[in-house]
């Protein structure tokens, strides 16, 4: 039972301290009155009685202080008082308050904004399991090495067959389908992929299965895997969706699975992906070897480093170039981690910025420390009076701490507000969508179009 009365008491004391104070005043006034009445009966004059009663009672302020201490909320009350006092004294020194808060806000705001960008771009990994093992492979012409072109499916199939560096390799591209419904047809965005891509990205089915190698064989019936979002928005999350048929471009496609939420392709392509269909290409068909219209991604095999993979792939490339000189002779091969591919160019710049604003924050702190120091020397008298009135060292330290707290809170609040405006919603030299407060999304603007 004790804890109940304790909680009730503390709630009362914290929420309506005024009432407790009034009750205490009344209680002590009553005490004085009774004491005076007693003395009056002993034959004192009213004035004498009151004086004597006061003397007997002692110092009411001290008594109240001690009673308050027994409430167990002295800390909170002191903090409240200190904060109120600080706010009042800051209002009386608007220049000091303004300079201190604005300096803090600048330092905190600049840091928050920069860190938000760095966090979005560099620190948060791509939304795939062990994303650091994902490698972007692209074929390049040596004479235009800066342009990373994409890869052709027969080449990627040969890479997969000949190399041991990759656990999985896959290609994908975007494709619009027309979905026939009872209300007419509408377009849906598809990603056409080889099944290996789903292994590279670490996808998992929420229902049914993923794309499988058998789905690729020409002449097989058409299958489709739905994205989680599309399944939810178009079919209301119907659990019986697997096995039904969709009409895509006038042909029947059997739904074989639904992906888990967040299993989205790297959005290098226009629009989002609503459905996935397998790429129906015979990799042995040489007509396709020059069709460099696909993005290629690979997942490094355990224990294989990027440079080992580069070495192996280079010898494979040379072999393929002698085998297929008409399509491959002029093409080199570049391997970069997906992460580097996305943020490589801006990494150094961002880290440099982060260091710079870190220094700015240090300078801010030094500035504030100086400001407070300067103010303190003019407050010596005030603190002296407080000490003389009975404030002990702890109480004075508490007051100064509360002042720091108030300044820091105001500065931080304004700083966050400032950061909100400093963070650009997009920037031509940063991965699109990596900025701001929203969800991670990455689409480099400068990415070559698969159509071009």
């Amino acid at each position: 039972m004790r804890w109940i009365s304790e909680i009730v008491f503390r709630l009362r004391a914290t929420l309506c301290p005024g009432r407790l104070e009034r009750e205490m005043d009344e209680e002590m006034a009553f005490h004085l009155e009774m004491e005076a009445r007693k003395l009056l009966q002993r034959g004192m004059t009213p004035e004498e009685a009151m004086k004597q009663a006061r003397r007997n009672f002692g110092e009411p302020m001290r008594h109240k202080e001690r009673a308050r201490e027994s409430w167990g909320i002295t800390m909170i009350m002191n903090l409240r008082n200190d904060v109120r006092l600080t706010l009042r004294s800051l209002r009386r020194n608007p220049v000091f308050a303004g300079v201190a808060i604005f300096t803090l806000a600048l330092g905190i705001g600049a840091n928050t904004a920069t860190f938000s960008v760095v966090n979005g771009v560099l620190l948060r990994s791509l939304p795939f399991p062990r994303a650091d093992r994902i490698v972007f492979l692209c074929e390049v012409r040596p004479d235009e090495a800066r342009n990373c072109h994409t890869a052709s499916p027969p080449n990627v199939a040969d890479w997969a067959n000949q190399s041991g560096s990759f656990e999985a390799l896959g290609v994908f591209r975007w494709w619009p389908f027309m979905l026939g419904t009872s209300e007419g047809s509408r377009s849906v965005a598809a990603t056409i992929a080889t099944p290996g891509l789903m292994d590279v990205l670490g996808f998992q089915p929420a229902l049914g299965r993923l794309l499988q190698p058998e789905d690729q064989a020409e002449g097989r019936r058409n299958v489709v895997v739905l994205s989680h979002d599309f399944w939810q928005s178009r079919f209301g999350g119907d659990p019986g969706i697997v096995g039904t048929t969709l009409d895509l471009d006038g042909s029947p496609f059997e739904v074989v699975g639904v992906l888990r939420e967040g299993n989205d392709p790297p959005s290098l392509q226009p629009g989002i992906t609503q459905i996935w269909t397998p790429l129906h290409i015979d990799p042995r068909d040489e007509r396709h070897r020059n069709w460099r219209g696909f993005y290629a991604l690979g997942r490094l095999a355990p224990g294989v480093s990027l440079s080992e993979a580069r070495q192996e792939m280079e010898s494979i490339r040379v072999g393929l170039a002698t085998q297929h000189p008409e399509t491959n002779a002029e093409w080199g091969l570049q391997l970069t981690t997906l992460q580097d591919r996305v943020v490589g160019g801006v990494r150094t710049t961002l880290l440099f910025f982060l260091g710079a604003v870190g220094l700015v924050l240090l300078i801010t702190c030094a500035n504030i420390a100086n400001l407070i120091l300067a103010r303190m020397s003019s407050r010596e008298r005030e603190l002296g009076i407080r000490a003389a009135l009975g404030a002990d060292a702890r109480r004075l330290a508490g007051l100064l701490l509360a002042e720091g707290l108030v300044l820091a809170s105001l500065g931080a609040g304004l700083g966050l507000l400032l950061a909100r405006f400093l963070i650009p919603s997009s920037s031509p030299w940063l991965p699109q969508g990596s900025l701001g407060w929203g969800r991670w999304n990455w689409t480099p603007r400068s990415w070559p179009s698969p159509w071009g």
Partner: protein, 110 residues
């Protein structure tokens, strides 16, 4: 901030308040008067300690307080012992008696 001279052995004031309130519910001034009366003015209650103690005992749940009009038609806060307070009084009395007899034995030692 000077500390008050303890007017009684630390902790005994709580016990005395509980005891006095076990006789009948009373307001703060009454408690202090009663302690002085019964002790024949040997014990002077410091008013600051008195109210700190009363508030602390209330917080502990050993006494409860309520406002009531006195015989002189004056509103006053009365304190009354709770069940938990009775138990606590028993404990403290036991403890006190052990302590007192121990002190007496030591002083009587030859």
């Amino acid at each position: 901030m000077g500390r008050d001279k303890p007017d009684m052995i630390r902790g005994t004031l709580d016990m005395l308040i509980l005891k006095v309130l076990s006789l009948e519910p009373m307001h703060g001034w009454g408690v202090s008067e009663r302690i002085q009366q019964i002790s024949e003015d040997a014990l002077q209650v410091n008013q600051g300690s008195l109210y700190a103690s009363l508030h602390k005992l209330t917080r502990e749940g050993w006494i409860r307080s309520y406002w009531q009009v006195t015989e002189n038609n004056r509103r006053a806060r009365y304190y009354a012992l709770t069940r938990a307070g009775e138990r606590q009084l028993g404990l403290e009395r036991e403890h006190w008696e052990r302590l007192a007899s121990a002190v007496t034995r030591i002083l009587a030692a030859t």
